[in-house]
């Protein structure tokens, strides 16, 4: 694997990780094209609208990845606080007239020439900052006053900004930061009241009278077929897609469910279209690619001899892992529905570019690892 390791930071990148991510991005572009075709035809009269945007984002993302891969990751530690503040500000901008409301949720910022999703920026910003925080507090991390409480405050700030408009991303981010905190050495005993608290918060979020759709999602999860045409619709359509795909799939491009049975099939339910068109085999292939990414990510964290690099790698890996697991679990109706995209694959420029940037950082960390030693 490691071909040479001359100077630190100039070693070879983790090629397996690079290849897996590039395959995921490639599959993503193809699947976005396939899944978005009907809606693209209906709305814009040509089937390539989403493909073009995703392709541009993919190419842009590729260059960002290359850039990050060659930029020493340690620089993020230096600027971790300003990065964090900027990402939080981008989130706060949602509450200004710059925020764009689409389908009842204000998740986008209109920058004039393009729209971006601040939640993606907050995700990466939080991971960069939190890794630095954990590094600085490494000796007192297991104390309540210097470890757990400040950690929870930062988690709360990061997630609090996005939770109202995007519960799914907030959960992803919370999971990611908790994973980092866990790896950094949080006191396991503190986990008990924390779990209780998280349960409580979740219970509150679900039963929040301002968001009545959340409780419906729970009932729809228990028995989606009970209200097939109503609250169970999304889940049932996703299951129909997977079921009709079977072992080998209907063939690339031949999904029926993308014809408006699954809404935004190129987004929160793209894995269902993969299952329908490419079958169990295709779905497993994608799942295994994700497993490889996660495996390589954790291996890099294990091998890196720098604590900040370890926490940063952990955070980036967790970000990909939590989000992809939640997406696939939703699609297979293993957990209640919460709208969340599949990293590298789902349509969305900000998300794709940021994720590829994150992988670039991870690859840069891998260049500091001496794989040959193990």
């Amino acid at each position: 694997m490691a071909i040479n390791n001359k100077k630190k930071g100039k070693g070879a990148v983790d090629f397996t990780l690079f290849l897996s991510v590039m395959m995921l991005v490639f599959i993503g572009i193809i699947m976005v094209f396939s899944a978005s075709w009907p809606e693209s035809m209906m709305k814009f009269g040509n089937g390539y609208y989403f493909l073009k945007k995703q392709l541009v984002s993919g190419i842009l993302g590729f260059f960002v990845l290359l850039l990050c891969m060659n930029l020493d990751y340690k620089i993020y530690k230096k600027f971790s606080f300003p990065i964090y503040i900027l990402s939080i500000i981008s989130g706060l901008l949602l509450f200004t007239p710059l925020g764009v409301e689409i389908k009842g949720a204000t998740r986008w910022l209109n920058l004039g020439f393009t729209t971006i999703m601040p939640s993606d920026i907050i995700k990466i910003g939080s991971v960069i900052f939190f890794a630095a925080f954990l590094t600085n507090k490494r000796d007192k991390i297991d104390s309540l006053a210097h470890g757990t409480i400040p950690a929870l405050v930062y988690i709360g700030i990061s997630c609090g900004i996005i939770v109202a408009e995007d519960l799914g991303t907030a959960i992803t981010l919370a999971g990611t930061m908790m994973a980092m905190f866990f790896v950094a050495g949080m006191k396991l005993f503190h986990l008990i009241p924390l779990t209780v608290g998280a349960m409580g918060a979740l219970w509150y979020a679900v039963n929040d009278p301002d968001h009545p759709h959340r409780i419906k999602r729970i009932t729809a999860f228990r028995d989606p077929f009970a209200d097939k045409l109503g609250s169970g619709w999304q889940v049932v359509q996703s299951l129909y897609a997977l079921g009709s795909g079977g072992l080998f799939g209907l063939g690339l491009g031949k999904s029926r469910q993308k014809f408006f049975y699954i809404s935004e099939s190129y987004n929160d339910f793209i894995f269902a279209i993969i299952g329908e068109e490419l079958g169990l085999l295709g779905a497993l292939f994608v799942l295994i690619l994700f497993m490889i990414v996660i495996w390589r990510g954790i291996v890099i964290s294990l091998k890196i001899e720098d604590i900040y690099g370890c926490f940063l790698a952990t955070g980036i890996t967790a970000l990909v892992a939590v989000q992809s697991f939640i997406h696939i679990a939703v699609v297979t109706s293993s957990i209640p529905t919460t709208g969340i995209t599949l990293p590298f694959i789902s349509f969305g420029g900000t998300s794709l570019i940021i994720n590829m940037a994150a992988i670039g950082i991870l690859l840069n960390i891998s260049r500091h690892v001496n794989f040959g030693r193990s």
Binding site: P38, R138, A179, F182, V183, A184, G185, L229, G230, V236, L239, Y240, A241, L242, G243, S244, G245, G246, L247, K254, R256, Q257, F259, F260, Y261, G275, G279, L280, A283, L284, L287, I288, F290, M291, I294, W295, I298, S301, L302, I304, E305, D306, I307, C310, F311, T314, A318, A321, F325, I328, A329, T332, S333, S334
Partner: protein, 716 residues
């Protein structure tokens, strides 16, 4: 730069393990869904992708015997909405409301329902359909549909029946032959997206519908028209409750026409034709309305039973002739009464001026009850009962219509007492349906074969090919050809010389018999309510038409069958002969017609008037009710001075007041049962109070009372 702690590395390994576990779980979920539950889910998915649109078959046509269309299917349009595709429900409902003239709110409610498709309105006009299509509203479609249409409106309604809004037959031929008329629906299968647009893959499949079979009736539209016209006219002129006309072809049992007025328009069967009724019905509660509808749809000709009265004498005569207990040479003596039955005195129609000695022919012409009682007695109750059954009374004729009644005849000979035998001989104490009577008379006219009434001749497919035909069906031989001929000659003489003369048509030999019977309501004779009827056959030499006319509750003055029903039959027969091109044959008798002026008999007693009319060779009829020789005639028809043929009938009407007077019987001391029997026999209304024996009565015994007052009796 410091290295991560050992604990961090442990925890990282643990995290890797957890991730691996989660991936395994997700693989398990995927495998379960995509392999083990795949078939079931695929089935559900297929179901939602595949839209099968029913292609409605065209309902078969109902033709008359000559191929004229009586019920057809025409193109109509139905408006459907797919709520999911409607972007602006308020605008859409407003636009639809303007074109279709329905309430905006109702439409809005319909198009906001959580359903894949909603029917907005069925059967809009072509213009409305065009206008709606022009508006090009998304989610609203106008679909071509079939609608049942009866071009002649209220014509043969009771035969045809009608359908509901979805073309299901509900009554008449539409109901009985519904399965044949409906056909088999076709299907249009296609794969669609969630908004019902066809998917680019998987072609569509069309299974053609099989159109309904058409029905050819035995009914002749033209004769039906004659019958309807005549019945409607009689209904108005006689101010009757119902007028029913049935025309039958005796040799085949074919129903050529069958109508009852008033009727309904099968295009709109729930609305009465009469404007006044329409208003009345508007405010009725649903339950009452239901009752009214069923009353309106009730086919008098097969569903109502009535006492045939004198028309039944044809059956008595046929039975007696067949059994040889009577011949044309048999003579009967009428002294006005039958007095030898215990507990009952039966009167002849003309008891105040008895017929005296008369041949069988004269007895029939005179419609003499006494003669027929004797004829029935000579026949014997076993024989008589045998023929009543053989002619099909007491059982359904199995005509292809709904709601047929079997009528009421004694359950066995054991229950026929002397008085029953006597009254049945002249058609009382027995209840028949119109279709039974005309069928029996048809049997007598065709040489003795009782036929099953035939309403449907054949079924034809789309291209006019006969797929099924129904042959005339003989149920049984009832009387011989000889008897048939003899009875026909008797019937001819009734029309040419007897009570049926108002059905006489010069040049044609028409036979027939009139009947007048008091109606029975709730088991009692209803005062003032009569059914006048006439049953006829023509031409006598070679019968081709049997006709029955029933006028229910005529109230324009006269109610004798000879006056209210016979002229109706005459009109229909005359027009039918013309239409069927049956040429008249004038005999010498017809050419010499002696005329006589009707005398004024008003204010004379019945006895005197009778004598005057008989001397002038005129016949006369009066009502059955209690008369005395002193009863005064208050009116007559035709009026004095009118020239009529010799042998014509003059209807006489009595002073109702005089006949309404009765003497109050003595009731005190009698038991309740006895009192009820006495008062019932006198046809009086009463109010009984208390239990035990009568102690007080009002009015007092011996007082002259009016028939219509209420008797009060107190018991203790």
């Amino acid at each position: 730069m410091s290295a991560p702690s050992k604990s961090s590395k442990k925890r990282l390994k643990f995290t890797l393990f957890i991730s691996f576990f989660i991936v395994c779980f997700l693989i398990y979920r995927l495998g379960k869904l995509q392999v083990f539950e795949s078939d079931e889910l695929r089935k559900g998915a297929l179901e939602q992708w595949t839209k099968s649109i029913e292609i409605k078959p065209k309902r078969g046509i109902i033709y008359d015997r000559n191929g004229k269309k009586l019920a057809v299917s025409v193109n109509a349009f139905t408006v459907w909405a797919t709520p999911a595709d409607i972007k602006d429900p308020e605008k859409t409902s407003k636009a639809i409301a303007e074109v279709l003239d329905i309430d905006e709110k109702t439409i809005n409610e319909k198009i906001t329902q959580r359903q894949s498709v909603v029917k907005i309105k069925q059967w809009i006009t072509g213009e409305e359909a065009n206008e709606l299509r022009k508006l090009n509203l998304s989610g609203v479609s106008v679909v071509e549909d079939n609608k049942r249409y009866y071009p002649n409106e209220n014509f043969a309604s009771y035969i045809l029946g009608f359908t509901d809004i979805d073309n299901n037959g509900l009554d008449g031929i539409e109901k009985i032959y519904d399965d044949y008329l409906t056909g088999t629906p076709g299907k249009w299968m296609k794969m669609t997206d969630a908004a019902n647009r066809q998917l680019p893959y998987d072609g569509e499949k069309i299974y053609e519908p099989q159109n309904g079979t058409s029905i050819v009736l035995t009914v002749d539209e033209t004769i039906q028209y004659f019958a309807e016209k005549a019945a409607q006219q009689a209904l108005i002129e006689q101010k009757a409750k119902n007028v029913s006309v049935i025309v039958m072809e005796p040799n085949t049992g074919d129903i050529l026409a069958m109508t009852t007025k008033p009727d309904f328009d099968p295009n709109n069967p729930r609305e009465p034709l009469d404007d006044k009724l329409k208003k009345q019905w508007k405010d009725l509660p649903v339950e009452e309305l239901n009752e009214k509808w069923y009353e309106l749809w009730r086919n008098f000709a097969v569903s109502d039973i009535y006492e045939p009265g004198s028309t039944f004498k044809v059956i008595t005569a046929a039975a007696a002739l067949e059994e040889n207990t009577a011949t044309l040479d048999t003579h009967y003596y009428c002294n006005g009464f039958i007095r030898d039955i215990k507990g009952a005195v039966l009167k002849c129609v003309r008891w105040y001026n008895p017929h005296g000695s008369q041949s069988l022919k004269e007895a029939m012409n005179n419609s003499c009850n006494v003669a027929f009682v004797n004829m029935g007695r000579q026949l014997g109750k076993e024989n008589f009962y045998k023929y009543i059954k053989a002619f099909g009374f007491g059982e359904k004729t199995k005509i292809d219509l709904l709601g047929e009644q079997p009528g009421i005849i004694p359950s066995s000979t054991d229950v026929i007492k002397e008085v029953n035998l006597a009254t049945m001989s002249y058609g009382h104490g027995i209840a028949v349906t119109p279709i039974q009577l005309i069928n029996a008379v048809s049997a007598i006219s065709n040489g003795g074969d009782l036929m099953k009434p035939r309403l449907v001749k054949e079924m034809v497919d789309d291209e006019g090919k006969i797929v099924n035909s129904f042959e005339p069906e003989v149920i049984r031989k009832v009387v011989s050809k000889q008897t048939s001929k003899t009875v026909l000659s008797l019937l001819e003489s009734v029309v040419s010389e007897g009570s049926g003369s108002r059905a006489y048509i010069p040049g044609y030999k028409v036979g027939g018999k009139t009947g007048t019977a008091q109606k029975i309501i709730d088991g009692r004779y209803a005062p003032g309510k009569y059914i006048g009827s006439f049953v006829g056959v023509a031409p006598i030499d070679n019968p081709q038409i049997a006709i029955l006319v029933i006028v229910d509750e005529p109230s324009a003055g006269t109610y004798y069958g000879g006056s209210v029903a016979a002229p109706v039959a005459k009109t229909v027969l005359e027009e039918t002969f013309n239409y069927l091109e049956i040429p008249p044959k004038y005999s010498e008798d017809d050419e010499v017609i002696e005329m006589v002026k009707v005398p004024d008999v008003r204010n004379k007693t019945i006895g005197n008037a009778g004598r005057i009319l008989t001397e002038l060779d005129l016949k006369y009829t009066t009502e059955y009710a209690e008369l005395t020789n002193e009863s005064k005639i208050i009116d007559q028809f035709p009026l004095p001075g009118v020239e009529v043929q010799v042998g014509s009938i003059v209807d006489l009407y009595m002073d109702a007041k005089a006949t309404n007077k009765l003497t109050m019987p003595y009731l005190v001391g009698k038991s309740k049962d006895e009192v009820i029997k006495i008062l019932n026999d006198m046809n009086l209304k009463y109010d009984l109070k208390g239990k035990g024996n009568a102690v007080m009565q009002d009015p007092q015994p011996g007082e002259e009372i009016d028939k219509n007052i209420k008797i009060v009796v107190k018991f203790e």
